[in-house]
Amino acid sequence: MIQEPRVGVFICHCGHNIAAKVDVKQVADYAKTLPNVIVSHHYVFMCSTVGQELIREEIKKHNLNRVVVAACSPSMHEPTFRTAIESAGLNKYLLEMANIREHCSWAHSDKEAATEKAKDLVRMAVAKASLLEPLEEEEFPVSPTVLVLGGGVAGMRAAIDLAEWGFNVYLVEKNPTLGGRAALTGWLTNNRRGADVVNNLINKIVDNKNIHVFTNAELVEFSGFPGNFKAKIKVNPRFVNEKCILCGECEIECPIEVSNEYQYGLSRRKAIFFPFKAAYPPIYVIDQRVCIKCGECVKACQYGAINLAEQSLTLDLNVGAIVIATGYDPYHPPKGEYAYGLHNNIITLFQLERLLDEDGPTQGKLIIGGAVPKRIAFILCVGSRNTTPSSKNYCSRMCCTSTLINAIKIKEKYPDIDVYVLYQDINTYGNDETLYEQAGEKLVKFIKFEKPPTVDISPEGIVIDVYETTIQEEISIPVDALVLSVGMVPRRDQNELIATTRASCGEDGFIREVHLKLNPVEAPTHGIFLAGAVTGPKNIIESIRAGSAAASKVATLLSEGKVRTEPFTANVNEERCSGCRICVGLCPYKAISLREINDRMVAYVERALCMGCGTCSAACPSGAMQQYGFKDIQIMAQVVAATGGGIK
């Protein structure tokens, strides 16, 4: 039986965030006039220890049995206040929040109107709170297994950390090798290469029995709930097995040649190929998109390692959590942007990194268009910071540092080459700032622009025209080669990932975290974690850090051995149910079936399968199906209160 509601209303100033635009005292006074409200307070920071203590004290003092907190969005502090009222002895679902910050004080400029709206939002919350019931969470055991999607540095780091804690890890990589883009990143600071970092991580993975690596594999289905997700993995055929000793005979015989994506198109590869020196697993692979199955490679292989009849296989995994670490794509300039695509000597920073890498197509020699350039220029912020119509508005973080590392590398190897860096701002943050000084000492010439330079192709070569804002003069720079320091963009295939995992993307197009500062490695869906550049531009160090951070969050979720699910599931009033089956067909999770009660067929909800969308409740013609926490009468009460409830 529901007790007579005794509601306490607590209104937060959030410093000036709310109080500057909402007259909190007026709202608190108004709240006292609402039905069922016993007490109402306003305080500078309700989420602070003191604020929470105030709520607890008032609950005890006035024997409150419902609490309304008017503050920020429930996505921010609902868990905080639930815990607070629970520690005062109330069921934690007897809380309702009124969002008077994101939905009110931050969105409206007129204080009087915002105050009126805040009163309405509080009235709506009180109306719903009065009808809230105590709810019980269900507890489920968790699977101590984690799916890590993406075998780049972030994914590998997360997998290693989790495996070292003793969790079983499935590391699933879409490409035929681990390593991701970091493996192709040439020089980093301290004379290390991206490939060195990748090697180090791969060695740890090979040694760890808790990590199961699947390359050439992708997630095709994903369902379930935190602690108990079901993931279907499709492993595409590699056509080459572990008997391969990397002799390379097959490659020589293969008649198909395509652009080599592992050298950013600077060289060609065969249909059967080995991605790069440190690739893992150390086995050749056949690119099934281009292979014509002529069988030449099979004949060439003395070890019987090739099987062209190999089929894809499917794995069904039961995992407790998933880490999405699928990375980014380099920005691809449209043809003609800074004359990209119009001259062979105009390349991207990613391509330059391959050229300067000893394992690259020129074994580290700077050969562009068949010769070592005498004059080379970099243009920064290509694709970033709104420099061109197709640019993104964010900064890609890594391009300044990477440009300077490579500019310095060029100067070390070829002191006579003139190197120009055309920039808007140099953002070599943290310790990388010393690179700016080093580049200056090595006589790299920095040219500052506000208006992006123009690039023209003349019979003599590439000419860059730019207004230099320090000397305030229009200058013209003829160069032999031009490097576009392109930024990072969301992956092209990201929409498939969103469709499968129900992750969502933010304004910049990258996968969105719950909160950039408070929950930077958690997706809005509980149990899904995010690591690396999938959430936005990051350098290798930051991505590895994010991998470790995500791993520790997963461990927090899974180490307790059980999870509790939110209790907003559907529930049937069996007396009212007519057994019409409308809900059965609507349920996206097949959680509803019919069963016999007192000689009648009525709906039955399997609570463990119900995800709490409420679509069955919306469709039930007799109101027999109700969603806990979002019952018809609760929402109706909000509706009436929202429209003034007769006191308009």
């Binding site: 969005s73 969002n99 009126e116 969502s504 969105r512 469709a619 429209t643």
Partner: protein, 142 residues
């Protein structure tokens, strides 16, 4: 209430995962919009019973927005948005029969990133409602 200082009141049903988050984002990004909207959070646009919308009109709402994740596949619950789409396509035709102008109801897909779209939808609807004036009482007395 005179038509001169007529301030339309809009009731919004927003799904927790996309549209409610977009309205949060509008606030976080300080994108200003008129304060005529009252948002009710539901877990999914598929939870919105057309009766809730009628109830809003009956109690004095001048406009109602149901906002959910973008079809086809942004829905957190696989396809609740598609269910909302089916229900409210029918419902719109019924509204007109009840004498409620169809412009007073909008079904909108607003992803968590589309704070700008939210602001645009509110402004557009307000403009429309100001043009229409208050909802005639006899329309909802059924």
């Amino acid at each position: 209430m005179s038509t001169n200082n007529y301030e339309p009141r809009i009731v919004v049903f927003a799904c927790n995962w996309c549209s409610y988050a977009a309205i949060d984002l509008a606030g976080t990004s300080r994108k200003l919009y008129p304060p005529n909207v009252r948002v009710i959070r539901v877990m999914c646009s598929g939870r919105v019973d057309p009766q809730f919308v009628l109830e809003a009109f009956k109690n004095g709402a001048d406009g109602v927005i149901v906002a959910g994740c973008r079809p086809p596949s942004d829905c957190h619950y696989i396809n609740g948005n598609i269910k909302a789409l089916r229900r409210f396509t029918l419902f719109k035709r019924l509204l007109e029969e009840l004498g409620i102008e169809k412009e007073r109801f909008r079904l909108e897909w607003i992803s968590a990133a589309e704070a700008d779209k939210w602001v645009r939808v509110v402004n557009e609807m307000l403009e429309e409602l100001r043009r229409l004036g208050p909802l005639k009482a006899e329309a909802v007395s059924v």
